[in-house]
Amino acid sequence: MKVALIGNPNTGKSSVFNMLTGLRQQVGNFPGVTVEKKSGSFTHHNAEYKLIDFPGTYSIYPRSNDEHIVYDVLSNPKNEDYPDLIVVVADAANLERNLFLFTQLYDLQIPMVLVLNMTDIASKKGFEIDKGALATFFPGVHVVETNARVGLGKDRLIEAIHSTSHEKRTTAFIDGAHLCSIDDFRTQENEAEVRYDKIKSVASAAIKKVDLASKKDPNKADKIIVHPVFGYLIFALILLVVFQFIFSFASIPMDAIDGFFAWCSAYLQTNLPQGVFADLISQGIIPGIGGVVVFVPQIALLFFFISLLEESGYLARVVFIMDRLMRPLGLNGKSVVPLLSSVACAIPGVMATRTIADKKERLITILVAPLMSCSARIPVYTLLIALVIPQKTLFGFINLQGLVLFGLYTLGLVAALLVALVLKKILRSKEKGFLLLELPSYKTPRISNVLLLVWERVRVFVLDAGKIILAISIILWALASYGPGNGMENAAKRAEQTAKEKGYSISATDQYVASARLEHSYMGKLGKGIEPVIQPLGYDWKIGIALITSFAAREVFVGSLATIYAVNDDTQENRKLIDRMRMEKKPDGSNTFTLASGLSLMIFYVFAMQCMATLAVVKRETSSWKWPLIQIVFMGILAYAGAMIAFNLFS
């Protein structure tokens, strides 16, 4: 039996879905479209129920791509997802508004169950719902109260689904109502008026509001949190605190992980039988794995805070206050969600633009979303910050490194907004967008939900991104260890001779020879080839190689540097990547990584479109190669110009 889970956004639909299905879930797409489809199953009295979670919608008639799926499925009984039963999840504290969608679905005469969810918040707000009165208006519908976040009402709901599934219903809320064409606005409008009138009488009979004088308004804090001035200050302060925490607390486990992999590498180099395979393990694979694992603490901390803010209901307030800021810049209020999602990753961010109905506003959002600093940039930022920004404290409590990280995120946001403004002038939009947003009540975050998200993100980073970084590290090692003809051997002999003449120590000679070999390897040739282009930005050919390889994904930059400098360091000492980078010298003897070149690299990564997967998704979402190509060009120009300016300013 197929059960559809339908409801307004923010009614706790996902919590009901999780409560019913537990871990028996699958994520895929609805056939023919790229709208995410979550399905799961549960059994009761030997009957199996397949549950499909539909995108949140306020009406059966769609306004965006996501909402379209509900109409498409329900208007076609032959659709493979057409349900035998509908479970409508309604927010008990906003029942009157939720009844609009519920009554539309009721008129389809498919068996249904009405779930009054979040009853705890409803009672805090002073709402009392008379289930008996509701039942008289909607005969044949089981009304179940739940608080799905804590698993309350699960058994009652399963029992209601089980008993309703055998009932046939012929009653309707509005006689003669039927599912009309999407474009038939007149019929929809007339029907909506009648529907709202009738809902009012249902609400007055079934919903009672207790005097709130004695009860506290749970959303009282909104007066300050969404205030036109304090709102932004609080948001900026929260972000600043989050970045301070990331820098202060993540460094301890990161140093330990980094040290562990450096030790492993040195140990294996000394104890494995000498040969190329031993070199591959100690210089290619171990630094490659280390380059992934070392960023786990930072990613875990960032998502811990993001999840905490989302769970508490604060993130919806951020969307609300940012809407005011975005409107004059030509972005739809709904652009805020994709942009905020892009702080995690531009891919879900670009996909989240499907909720924007206006095509040009959607396109602008897609084009600027990758400018928001995604989590793939964290490894690059944190490594470079730790390398070139001194560990100082400003005014006795602000960590300078955390402040620079905050500055890089802000720069990405400002760039996204300014580019949107320019694109608004170029593309021009005739339609005016609007933001329809429901501010959920403040809730105490459930630590299990928070930790589940952190675990999921870390797992995906280590397993998915990790495999790519590892594969690239192996290929880089091969390119750095082999070269055309006898070039590497000849260069090594010359270097050994020079080192002897100059009286270098054993360790310095090893490093000098390794450096000469690397310069004449395939990778060295490749890096030397692009050196003239990147020299004005303050980079040498080794950094150039990392820039090329990180075109696939930004975080590969760190893994690439780890491999390049491991091959370059033949002294068998267990140095960390950051120490190797500190020791790196230009031919004139000056440091390769200075404040100027470090900041230049950071600015480069703020703007550059170094993500193949995002390009592929932009291509799919815009159905053309034109837009990803435009995106890669304008972001490339921004990155190059920004990095050059930064390098010259700080040199």
């Binding site: 797409n29 790229t34 039988p273 040969g275 190329v276 395979f277 031993a278 591959l280 694979i285 995690a344 990753c345 891919i347 879900p348 995604c374 989590s375 793939a376 993100r457 995906v460 980073f461 280590v462 397993l463 998915d464 991104a465 990790g466 495999k467 790519i468 590892l470 594969a471 690239i472 192996i474 290929i475 091969a478 696939a552 994904a553 930004r554 975080e555 993500c611 193949m612 997967a613 995002t614 390009l615 592929a616 998704v617 291509k619 799919r620």
Partner: protein
């Protein structure tokens, strides 16, 4: 022997990357394997 093992591992890495590239750019796979955050 060590050289054969190296050739195998490097070959496997190239094959894996080529497969990912094909899935993302040609087959337009939904899942993000880039930064892994999707």
């Amino acid at each position: 022997m060590q050289s054969i093992l190296v050739a195998l591992v490097v070959g496997l890495a190239i094959f894996y990357l080529a497969r990912q590239l094909y899935k993302q750019l040609i087959k337009k796979d939904d899942s993000c394997k880039g930064c892994g955050m999707g």
